[in-house]
Amino acid sequence: MSSIAQSTQVPPVLTKPKLSPDDWVMRTLIIVAIIALFTVIVLPLYSMLAKSAENSAGEFIGLANFITYFNSPALFKSITNSLFVSGTSSITVLFLAFLYAYALTRTCMRCKAFFNIVALIPLLAPSLLSAISLVYVFGNQGIAKSWLFGESIYGPIGIIIGLVIWVFPSALMIIKTSLQTTDGRLYEAATAMRSTPLRTFLVVTLPGVKYGLISALFIVFTLTVTDFGVAKVIGGQYNVLATDLFKQVIGQQNFQMGAVVGIVLLFPAVLAFIADRYVQRKQVSLLSARSVPYTPKPSTIKDNLFFIYCTLVSAVLIGMLAMAAYASFVTFWPYDQSLSLTNYQFDLMDGGGWGAFTNSLRMALYTAVFGTLFIFGTAYLVEKCRGFKGARTIIQMFTLLPMAVPGMVLGLSYIFFFNAPNNPLNFLYGSMAIMVISCVVHFYTVSHITAVTALKQMDPEFESVGASLKVPLYKTFFRVTLPMCLPAVLDISTYLFTTAMTTVSAVIFLYSPDTQLASVAVLNMEGAGDIAPAAAMAMMIVLTSACVRLLHYFLTRGLRRKHLLWRTK
């Protein structure tokens, strides 16, 4: 008795668990990942910040560049222009996408599968494509120029229409998800309490999708305010921030002012990002395990009205693609309307020729392979490492950051960072690798979230069981974790491939004469007046993306059949 009393008086010795080899490997890899992410995200952004406070001789001049910028009316006008076009197009697309998503999730309309696929068309192409099509339809030699009643498509009207088409699928996917995740019981309760349809809509439907709508708004706003392709093709004399950035850097080689514009462009994106994070944190899951999915009831008038609406929207989306496809085959618009493959002879034109296309394929492939490896691997480390909380938090911060950085700003910061003569990584500059890195970083956040979601869905005790049976972690990873996460891995790689294939903004500052890219070729050919070849190249991108998506579809379907055997419930 007395001995026990004594032993409890001794201050307790804190036990520190001994680290196993697994722990050491994971911790080392986490530190490697932190260094890598720090090098490709934080350091470049810092060098851009530093550059904005320098004069052309490289001396520190404080905020002088910013003062010059805000005192130049032409440049300052771009800010209001940018806010105007992205504000208008964001609200428009939100409205259109909500109706479309509502039709897909809450009605018994026919042809839902078809409408679902059609809505994704703009994702297959660079944003330039919608603008090129608009030129063919409403441009100076367009087939429906008169529809504009004398207004010019070259300017805000064109930019807004082009942006709306381009970001439509992004808005649609978010809103659709939030409309799908509503508890059907709420509607049954509303019906039981004899609520009118309007009241149900206002009290049940809208609050349910509130956060989805806000989230969509922020994401669409960021996309539109930072997009460069549409404004470049159809903006005419109407300047926005993204085209200013391009002009300062490529046109005038004024890197300091470019850095200033880059930081100005970073502002709305970062603000939207912070606001979105804030809203997301407030969101609580409306679905519990006991929820039942909502099943719409047929209603002739409602279903038909929405069918007509979706047909109209689909017609525009298909029309956009068809117009560009048709124009790419027309020998010489508008004089020789015969169809030929003349415009596909890229080697006869500036812009890199077919080499640009194969370069794009290579870059997209590398981005998909290395990006998926790095992103999924890092997500696994963050989710499954025991302890080491600080380091994991740092990685989580780094993975969110790219979401807030526009592609052009990232590319510009890469110039400053990797082109610095004293940087040991200088050899990357002008290589394929730097573009792959830029693409992986630019599309990091979405991929990371996909990976984490898949990992979180698995029973957290799998690793505990493995440890109790003394099976090393890597075996459990390859035998259980990876097979279970294969659908997510496929999703990530497809996403990385198609976005790398279509992006302009992340690579526009980084390509070299040896590494011309298809998406950049579209831009350059269009800029040189070769608009039909530009359309042709854009069609090649669409074709490639569509093939990859199709491949993804079949692979996923095969996997899903296998997974049905595994599905617990």
Binding site: M1, I4, S7, T8, P12, V13, L14, T15, K16, P17, K18, L19, S20, D22, D23, D459, E461, F462, S464, V465, G466, A467, S468, L469, K470, V471, P472, K475, R479, V480, P483, M484, L565, W566, R567, T568
Partner: protein, 389 residues
């Protein structure tokens, strides 16, 4: 007579803090201790989940950690496994200090409430998961797997995927997988909670029989007292990160060490009272004869009596602690009924009478009757700062 009663009470009323120490002494006497836990503390930021727990477990014993949710029982189990390391304290498993070892360096098999079967592997591959790593030959592994599946009552289901099995069958596979490597310690984390009531009762006795055959030291976490009562050799009742009592199911039920245990294991009438002297207390204006321990004299206390210990047959007015009560509600529960009784002082009691008594004594709602509270069934506990429930 008085002296004798006092002695008895001293035995019955003891400080819960000394329980673990008593348990250790007891075990040391028997020798053969397998797992020794010394002053285990687990802190999360500013929340203390385990407040210095000590416990000794003998080899071959079936131990249940019983307590309400949030009492720290799962934390305790995970600390024993090394899945969540303790903040301080020692763990000695068959003579080896394992306090700082990672789970893969310890000797245990574990079964989770969620089964945690690998969905992409067949039953055979799940069971063989730990064997493959030991470089056993393929036929040997096959042999062992089919033996294990036979043991848990699932012969021939080697090639099925877990999703094709029912919850009870999945839990058997999880059990086979945990036993495959012949661990010295089997940990069961609420293994039956996710199952239907009937499957649960069935599996309960099977697990117990299996454990007795294999003589594997087993710790099971549960919040179901019936499960703990029927399966455990000893029950460890936990609350708020401390052990309230350690003992056999009978000890826990018949001699609860604290008001919490009395109320958590089975049901109890817990009545606030004032201890007048060594022989009497006052409960809501009624004076009852008890034998009160010295430490409680003149203090506020809790009087506990189990509903089934309230007497109703052949009572005389002269009997100690006899009360005239009004029969309020009667809850029919099959072989017995639960009856709410009210005394004129406002005192309310819950009693349980067999169907036999109900018939013989014609107990019906609205009638009056006479009951006794036998001294030997009355227990007194110090008033707890935070009352249980």
């Amino acid at each position: 007579m008085v002296a004798l009663e006092k002695k008895q009470l001293e035995y019955e009323y003891h400080d819960p803090k000394n329980d673990a120490a008593a348990a250790i002494k007891n075990v040391v006497g028997m020798g053969n201790k397998y797992l020794e836990i010394i002053d285990l503390v687990k802190k999360y930021d500013d929340f203390v989940a385990l407040k210095g727990i000590s416990l000794t477990i003998n080899s071959g014993e079936f131990i249940c950690f019983l307590g309400p949710s949030g009492c720290g029982k799962t934390t305790f189990l995970r600390a024993i496994a090394g899945l969540d390391h303790q903040t301080s304290g020692k763990l000695i498993q068959s003579g080896v200090d394992v306090s700082e070892l990672q789970p893969n360096k310890r000797d245990f098999g574990i079964v989770f409430q969620s089964y945690a079967l690998f969905p992409n592997l067949t039953v055979a591959k799940n069971v063989a998961y730990g064997l493959v790593n030991r470089k056993a030959s393929k036929p040997d592994i096959q042999q062992k797997v089919s033996e294990l599946l036979h043991t848990v009552g699932l012969p021939g289901s080697e090639s099925k995927y877990p999703a094709a099995l029912s919850g009870g069958q999945q839990q058997r596979v999880a059990l086979a997988r945990a036993l495959a490597t012949s661990p010295g310690l089997l940990l069961l984390d609420e293994p039956l909670s996710a199952l239907d009531a009937q499957v649960r009762t069935h599996l309960r006795s099977e697990i117990k029989a299996l454990q007795r055959n294999l003589e594997v030291t087993t710790i099971m976490v549960t919040h179901d007292q019936e499960e703990a009562m029927t399966m455990a050799d000893r029950i460890v009742v936990m609350n708020h990160g401390v052990i309230e009592q350690v003992g056999t199911p009978q000890e826990i039920y018949q001699h609860p060490a604290t008001a919490f245990v009395a109320n958590f294991v089975g049901t109890t009438n817990l009545l606030p009272c004032t201890v007048i002297d060594a022989n009497s207390v006052e409960v809501g204006g009624v004076k009852l004869n008890v034998s009160a321990p010295q430490v409680l004299l003149g203090k506020q206390a809790l009087l506990a009596i189990r509903p089934e210990d309230i007497g109703a047959r052949s009572i005389n007015n002269s009997d100690t602690n006899s009360l005239d009560v009004l029969i309020n509600e009667i809850e029919f529960l099959g072989s017995f009924s639960r009856v709410t009784l009210t005394h004129q002082s406002g005192l309310t009691l819950t009693a349980e009478f067999s169907m036999n008594s109900m018939r013989d004594l014609d107990i019906t709602s609205g009638k009056s009757m006479k009951v006794t509270l036998p001294i030997k069934h009355i227990r007194l506990f110090p008033e707890e700062p935070s009352s249980p429930r």
